[in-house]
Symmetry: C2
């Protein structure tokens, strides 16, 4: 943290996050790996809080991820707590990983008077080093004493590894004339020191939502937000999203409530895009939209193929409206396409249609769009109605600088 400058794509300021009744936060400098900064956060959640989660699909996922997944459907009566440390991912640490996770969850359960099944932990940082769990457990009483409903912004800082800025987003929703609030924080995808690639997301609401409805909402919206971003096609062993609904507002939200879903979608999309905007070495934020595919899933395959192509991403870094590479990325994706039906646009500029460059296209128009900081690439395949949008950044010398550094 601090080794690299703040991303040029960072928001102007950290947003004002509302107090979520039933959720309080504390942070501490436990010295897990970093010196001179907070590196452990505790979130305490009121009795009755419903938890939902989405986790990495990696087959080499970390001990804390496996522990969270096992607990996510549990009884909510007692409340819950989330303990997160930065600096050490506790991933690929063999049996030590399980031992360390157990030590933290058992310690937190005792300190907070909660069942161990209601303690959710995440670890982010270096892979393959033993987590010094005792440094975390030694600070649990201090954390408990410091709990504060207004401390979510400092929590966003404690979970950073090599992020260049903390990430937060919030929304308010009116339900039958009453207001519920949503606030979320996220970290990633720095990768600024080797082995640090985890994305962690924590979202809180004071709405009262049944667990199945909450999980359905979180899973569905994740697919359209966090599962639609890519920095470099690499997937962490520790990615975790947890959402807590405390119910403290007394306002019930039923499954399928459009206003709440829209607000939650907004918060999750904002956080997801903030993660991309902190991508290693990023100088451009790029929205890739594919329409006219055989299905939404095929549209996403094409969009991801474009967004992950090193040749597309380096062309964007070079401000080159290189539509030939878009054609290449569509061709290699494995999903269906007909070369002679493809239409490509950069922003509003029609670049190619019917399998060749558009008659109206002038290279300087494409080049002008590429000079912006927020770019859009749209492809219509002309086959059917499938559509998808993904978000990515460019591939620059900064990425190589950051990731070819020897760990030290």
């Amino acid at each position: 943290m601090g080794k690299y400058p703040v991303s040029p794509l960072a928001p102007a300021a950290f947003p004002e996050l509302p107090v979520i009744r039933g959720a309080s936060f504390a942070t501490v400098a436990a010295g897990v790996r970093y010196a001179g900064r907070t590196d452990v956060m505790l979130a305490l959640l009121a009795p009755g809080t419903q938890m939902a989660g989405v986790f990495t699909r990696s087959s080499t996922r970390s001990a804390p991820v496996l522990d969270c997944q096992a607990k996510i459907g549990g009884d909510s009566e007692a409340g819950a707590a989330i303990v997160v440390n930065s600096g050490n991912a506790n991933a690929f640490t063999g049996k030590n990983g399980v031992t360390a996770t157990e030590a933290v969850t058992r310690g937190a359960a005792e300190a907070l008077g909660l069942p161990v099944e209601r303690i959710f932990t995440s670890s982010t940082g270096v892979i393959g080093e033993k987590l010094p769990a005792e440094r975390i457990t030694a600070k649990l009483d201090e954390l408990k004493a410091a709990l504060d409903e207004a401390a979510i912004a400092v929590a966003a800082k404690a979970i950073m590894t090599t992020d260049t800025y903390p990430k937060g987003a919030a929304a308010e929703v009116s339900i039958n004339g009453e207001t519920v609030k949503i606030a979320g924080i996220a970290k990633g995808s720095g990768m600024i020191e080797p082995d640090m690639g985890t994305m962690l997301v924590y979202i809180f609401t004071d709405a009262r939502i049944a667990r199945p409805a909450l999980q359905d909402m979180v899973s569905a919206i994740s697919d359209k937000t966090f599962n639609c971003i890519t920095v470099d096609s690499d997937t962490s062993t520790s990615d975790t999203l947890l959402m807590a609904a405390t119910g403290a507002s007394g306002v019930s939200v039923e499954a399928g409530n459009a206003a709440f879903e829209e607000a939650l979608h907004g918060v999750m999309l904002d956080l997801a895009q903030q993660v991309v905007k902190d991508g290693e070495g990023a100088t451009k934020f790029v929205e890739v939209t594919v329409t006219g595919a055989r299905s939404d899933e095929e549209a996403r395959i094409h969009a991801k193929s474009i967004a992950n192509s090193p040749l597309v991403k380096t062309a964007i870094a070079g401000e080159d409206p290189n539509w030939g590479r878009i054609v290449m990325a569509i061709g290699k994706s494995g999903a269906e396409a007909d070369r002679d039906l493809i239409t490509i646009r950069f922003g509003d500029v029609l670049v190619a249609e019917k399998g060749w460059v558009a008659e109206s296209y002038r290279e300087e128009d494409g080049a002008a769009h590429m000079k912006g900081q927020n770019l859009s690439i749209s492809v219509d395949l002309g086959l059917a109605e499938g559509a998808a949008t993904v978000w990515t950044c460019d591939l620059t010398h900064g990425y190589i600088d950051i990731n070819a550094d020897y760990r030290s």
Copy 2:
């Protein structure tokens, strides 16, 4: 060509390629795009020559690729010819692409007295620009007059786009006391000017082989050679491999002849590895072997996931023995793995076993291996007997320099 220095991984010299009876070559400077160099090659193949081919699976493949694919099974009586131009890929050029391919094949058929069905063409270079076919057809008589059995080495140069060195390989095989010869040339994967990413491979033998046997051999060996290399995970619209068996030695090779297959495998692997060694910005050549997978196909998925990971490739560029990123790449591949059974080696150095760093591992041993120019990464998954090897290069600032340049 010439804009970037010769790859540090290039062979010391272009190999001595034998004359293949029944095959003759000519090159010319036609000015398709480049000035001051040869850019069209003609190979004329004797009557009875059997042709086999392997082509890009891209759904946006170019007009010459589609034309070659349609012709590959045709009657061999009349002989055949291969016409290749560099500088323009004739890809994503709409109807113009078909028109230009027809002009070249018809012109060559007339000049050489061959049926148009026996003229195979490839084009490599910029995507999306109209191919000036007339510049090629104007030179066909000159090419015919220059045909020379010994000119295969100059042919290797004419097909280069932004390769930093020409690529050739050869073998001799003894079949029942008689000798047959194999010689091949390849180009790729420069990408040194945007839109130039085609891999072209032409292999010639004077053995007599029936077309189905030849095609089976070429397809099977391609899967273990050219389909096991990756520079940047991007797939060209024009990749083409053609093999011609002239039969001029009078020596018959039957399907399944182990000596011939081994020799052909050697030539194809050599050419494939030369393509990787000319990867954009490459400074390290890396062999990735995965064993113990559920199947050979699952082993290849894991190996490709490692070889294509930007984080693994930048770590290699930084000479960082970053085994955590190997674990990450295995985890994200989608193929089966059990975190706690994985063994990882860099060269002979045991790095990780049973889900954690090996007790015997010393970081300086891993670091010492990474300082070499030819690296090996081996992963055993401990699940079953599936195995695969792929070859790749590192991801360096050179790649960004080359590909973030604006086309000009």
